[in-house]
């Protein structure tokens, strides 16, 4: 720690940071544009100018850019210095010469960093009297609006998009003040992280397009902390709503998880909450005709159904712990199903056990960024866990640190560090059946079938530790590759192995565990990350239950009276014949969901559930972190949380004396008590009783306006807003607000003078560090077994011996379209491309784009083929759910030869 003097005030500062960070951490208001906590410093905007004095006797000082100057102990600075102030006001004045001042119609207005900084510098009247330059804007697709005239040339967009996220289709064009940021031609931005431009851009050049269509000022929306439901990474988000509808999702900083960025699926996937097709009332299907009924009638009907035999519940890996647990209470643990078919069920159940049993670390995303040797084993993390792939990408930047250190270049000097990185060897190795977005930056990118990848994995583990079993009969190439990988991993001090369930291949995750175990034994600080498929797969694994196959058996043997399915569209899990057989054997089907599913169309009773936006709950992410989401909208009856529905069932149908949970905290407490593996979920977030200075936290900014005006046609009276018992957040602007708010409860970011998301700086203990009020969530898997003799997995697959015209069809999840909830969001749906069958070698007579047919998951399909010569022989790829609804796991298929369409 160093001490620096800022305008006579002694402030502590870290010697590895720059003066801008130090000033911000000291609570000073020092404006900046081009610097970004995650992107480092490049010194482009010149906004952060301060005076630095060489010593107590130096009265003149020198203007320096704070962001480009390293902290030194005893540094004497002035932010208030008249010359520094004049220069900073000048910088804003220059930036403003071409800015259109269209704040009243700009979707950034009110949360614009440029506005904040302009006010901060005191530049308040225009002296530039000449014409402004104007630009033509581009259509950048369904996510992002483009208004280049607002650009202030800070270069953040391209630095994020290209340097940080590896995007290729956004660039800076031209020079001097013709500078233009955009695409080479109109078209949707290709990066999976394009939405972050909205938050990265300090003004309104890149704004949230779907949000613009339902636009509201920041100060006119309520916010609540939430957790992304669109993959298992568990990015923290803030959901904004107004008038009972979700308007947008933005990033919520979590030091160890998503930090500053989300993927586009997470940011734009929320549209399902506003879908017109959403069930809004209980529906009874009588003779095939759906009839809306009251809640009371619904509960009565359920009580009647319950008399017809045992109730079996099917939970869901996309539903909260609470919703699953309440269902499990209704049915009892033996009749509660995970909602997963056998193979996926078994694998999912294994994951937490495997992570616990492996002595290697189970890393957070932030932790992964500093890995110095990474092996991705048979998982396309770019689509199954997009934000995780962004973390892996950062290992490349870290690879430049040794060279930068040697040249005494601090790590935040971004451009210089990247320059050294251009020749640093990549620490990434990617073994997958098909190409991934990480391949271009990987040192090794190898294509093979899942079994073959698992074999390689076992071979690598054996090379690292002779006691680990070796894969027999490796080809010479494979053997050499295993050597290379083992050598590269051995050189790492923080090696990382990433695998997952994409190919439902147990050998893959076992091989990954073997490698991690072997690396750990070498003394390296090894880490193992396993990617689960859904936002609460891990929660389900820790809750436990029976597979769908067991439910089928019960049904077949007449042991089900009523089947209650919570937030699970079984048509995506079971092929039509299997599902038909199951449903035929079940007298009553009850579906509780917040989206319209095909399964619900077949249910006798459909109950409208609250979505993540209207409910609180807990999800366990793939690193085993339990995280709480809170309602931003208080649901209006009869829409209510799934757990409230099942609780009411329990009381209505079976035992009226069943324990009653009147709020989320009570059910959380019961779960923690009943399921030891989940005991720590209580710590995921403060409970609804949390008070700051004796008050609830407000979910709306103090400036919220027009609440009565928007419903003036109904009534001009202010109406008391309903308070949800599940959250410590008030539904209004009444309540406490502070940068010391616990990270799990932050409803929006704001600090005096800082209306944009940049105000986050005020909420952190140090820039890029933990939240002042503590980080959100609770890690559940950290009590691994004490290290003993390594336990090796031995299930090494045999070399493939497939018949030549036998294809192994692998699921090819996509960023957009294969994940259930986001696919219902209109902007995401606009990006979904039709399903294809990707083939390595085309059958004779077939051309790229030609049609083939095959039978898959009980459906006969005709699909266009996409030729992908890089695929290993015998492998084909097809997106899950998009072509055949229930296709999720690898299957052997044969192409039909007979028909030529």
């Amino acid at each position: 720690m160093a001490t620096i003097l800022i305008d006579g005030r002694a402030c502590p500062a870290r010697t590895d940071e720059n003066l801008l960070q130090a000033c911000l951490e000291a609570g000073a208001d020092l404006p900046y544009f081009c610097w970004h906590p995650e992107l480092g410093s490049v010194g482009a905007c010149r906004q952060c100018a301060i005076k630095q004095f060489s010593g107590p006797d130096d009265k003149t000082g020198r203007i320096v850019m704070a962001c480009m100057t390293q902290v030194t102990d005893g540094a004497i600075l002035s932010i208030d210095d008249p010359q520094a102030r004049e220069f900073r006001a000048g910088v804003v004045e220059w930036l403003m010469t071409n800015h259109p001042h269209d704040c009243p119609v700009c979707p950034e207005g009110g949360e614009c960093h440029l506005q904040d900084m302009t006010v901060m510098t005191g530049h308040d009247s225009r002296r530039y009297r000449f014409a402004k330059r104007t630009h033509r804007n581009q259509d950048l697709g369904p996510f992002i609006n483009h208004e280049m005239n607002r650009c202030i040339g800070c270069y953040r967009c391209v630095r994020f998009y290209r340097d940080y996220a590896g995007g290729e289709d956004l660039a800076a064009f031209a020079a001097h003040n013709d500078l233009y940021f955009g695409r080479h031609e109109d078209g949707a931005l290709e990066s999976a992280f394009s939405g972050n431009l909205v938050e990265i851009c300090p003004t309104g050049v890149f704004t949230d397009k779907p949000f613009s269509a339902v636009y509201s000022r920041k100060w006119d929306m309520g916010g609540a902390p939430s957790v992304c439901a669109h993959c298992a990474v568990g990015c923290n988000t803030i959901v904004n709503a107004r008038q009972g509808s979700v308007r947008r999702v933005i990033n919520r900083y979590h030091e160890a998880v998503n930090r500053y960025f989300l993927c586009d699926r997470g940011r734009y996937g929320h549209g399902f909450t506003n879908a017109p097709t959403r069930p809004r009332a209980p529906i009874l299907r009588q003779g095939g005709i759906p009839v809306p009924i009251s809640m009371a009638t619904a509960l009565e009907r359920f009580a009647t159904m319950a008399k017809d035999g045992p109730i079996v519940g099917i939970g869901s890996t996309r539903a909260s712990l609470e919703s699953n647990f309440a269902l499990r209470c209704l049915t009892g643990p033996d009749r509660f199903s995970t909602g997963l078919a056998q193979l996926e069920h078994d694998l999912t159940m294994q994951v937490p056990a495997l992570l616990r049993a492996t002595p290697a670390r189970n890393p957070s995303l932030h932790d992964m960024e500093s890995a110095d040797a990474v092996l991705v084993l048979g998982e396309d993390v770019c689509v199954t866990a997009p934000r995780l792939s962004l973390a892996l990408r950062q290992t490349l930047r870290r690879a430049a640190f040794p060279a930068a250190d040697a040249a005494k270049v601090p790590h935040w000097m971004d451009a210089a560090v990247r320059m050294f990185g251009s020749d640093a060897p990549s620490p990434l190795m990617v073994l997958t059946p098909a190409a991934t977005d990480l391949d271009p930056i990987a040192a090794t990118a190898h294509r093979a079938a899942p079994d073959a990848i698992a074999r390689l994995g076992f071979a690598v583990a054996h090379r690292l530790d002779g006691s680990a079993p070796d894969a027999p009969d490796l080809s010479e190439t494979e053997s050499r590759l295993a050597d290379t990988i083992a050598t590269a991993l051995r050189t790492g001090r923080r090696p990382l192995i990433v695998a997952g369930l994409q190919y439902a291949n147990a050998a893959l995750i076992h091989a990954a565990a073997n490698i991690a175990t072997a690396l750990h034994a070498t003394g390296a600080d090894a880490a193992l990350s396993l990617v689960a498929p859904d936002c609460n797969s891990m929660g389900m694994a820790l809750t436990g239950g029976i597979p769908l196959d067991a439910v089928r058996t019960m049904a077949r043997t007449g042991h089900i009276g009523t089947l209650v399915v919570v937030e699970n569209d079984l048509t995506r899990r079971l092929d039509t014949a299997t599902l038909d057989e199951l449903l035929a054997a079940v007298p009553h089907l009850v579906v509780i969901d917040h989206i319209a599913t095909r399964l619900a169309e077949r249910a006798d009773l459909v109950l409208p559930a609250a979505s993540f936006a209207e409910s609180g709950g807990t999800l366990v992410s793939t690193e085993g972190r339990a995280q709480r989401f809170l309602p931003v909208i208080t649901p209006t009856m009869p829409v209510q949380e799934s757990w409230r529905w099942t609780q009411q069932f329990t009381r209505a149908a079976t035992h009226a004396d069943a324990p009653e949970w009147t709020n989320l905290d009570q059910i959380v407490a019961t779960i923690a008590h009943d399921i030891p593996a989940l005991s720590r979920i209580i710590d995921a977030a403060p409970d609804a009783g949390y008070r700051l200075d004796g008050r609830r936290l407000r979910s709306e900014p103090a400036r919220i306006s027009g609440r009565t005006a928007v419903r003036a046609n109904i009534s001009v009276h202010d109406r008391p807003l309903p308070q949800s018992p599940d959250t410590p957040l008030s539904p209004s602007m009444e309540g406490a607000y502070s940068p010391d708010t616990p990270g799990a409860l932050v409803p929006f970011y704001h600090a005096p003078g800082w209306n944009s998301v940049q105000s986050l700086n005020r909420f952190q203990q140090e820039i890029g560090g933990p939240m002042r009020g503590g980080d959100a969530g609770a890690r559940l898997l950290d009590d691994g077994i004490p290290a003993q003799a390594p336990e090796w997995h031995h299930d090494i697959p045999a070399p493939s011996t497939a018949a030549p015209d036998d294809l192994l069809l692998l699921p090819e999840p996509r960023l957009f379209g294969t994940e259930e909830l986001s696919a219902l969001s209109p902007p995401i749906a606009a990006r979904v491309t039709p399903a294809t069958l990707r083939l390595g070698t085309l059958p004779a007579g077939l051309q790229d784009g030609g049609m083939v047919s095959l039978t898959l998951a009980g459906e006969r399909l005709t699909l266009p083929v996409r030729h992908d010569p890089a695929l290993p022989p015998g492998i084909a790829l097809c997106p899950p759910h998009l072509a055949a609804r229930a296709f999720t796991a690898p299957v052997r298929v044969q192409l039909h030869r007979d028909d030529t369409p």
Binding site: R162, E168, D169, L170, A171, A172, F173, A174, A175, Y180, R183, H184, E185, S422
Partner: protein, 164 residues
């Protein structure tokens, strides 16, 4: 220009590829490659830009960011001859404005434009390093100095004369 959409000729592709291979990184050849395309076609069309980008392992946006950055890469069609008339200080002192005015009148175009017959494009350029012979201009690859409105006009006329 009719050739703007035609693919790059194979020998040009090969030369660009060779050039790039000789560099420490392919992208280091970007300006040279764009210049080669321009030498061949007079300018760099979108199609050629994309093709060149793929030869250099770059995205079109990336390469276009470079193409539009530099003064000497033309991203719009130019005439058969390009006049780069110096507009920097020594030439200005020595009367380049008068030369420019006369050229404009004679060619019937303003700086940045091409004559209707496609013969001549007139562009301003920064100091050509010919200040001891100001005003100066570069016509294609030939440097002309000590210009007067009259000599410049005569030169322009020869450029427009039908090529035998």
């Amino acid at each position: 220009m009719s050739t703007a959409d035609a693919p790059l000729p194979p020998d040009l592709r090969a030369r660009i590829a060779d050039l790039a291979q000789a560099e420490h990184r392919l992208r280091a050849a970007s300006v040279s490659a764009l210049t080669m395309v321009q030498d061949y076609f007079g300018w760099v069309s979108d199609t050629h830009l994309a093709e060149t980008a793929s030869l250099l392992g770059m995205s079109p946006a990336d390469l276009d960011g470079i193409a539009t950055y530099f003064n000497l890469i033309f991203r719009r069609p130019v005439g058969r001859h390009v006049i780069l008339l110096c507009d920097s200080v020594s030439c200005w002192i020595m009367g380049r404005d008068a030369v420019c005015t006369r050229l404009q009148a004679r060619l019937g175009i303003r700086p940045g434009e091409t004559t209707a017959d496609g013969a001549v494009t007139l562009l301003p350029i920064v100091c050509l390093g010919h200040c001891d012979h100001a005003p100066a201009m570069l016509v294609d690859r030939t440097l002309h100095g000590d210009l007067t409105a009259e000599t410049a006009e005569q030169l322009a006329d020869t450029l427009r004369a039908p090529t035998p």
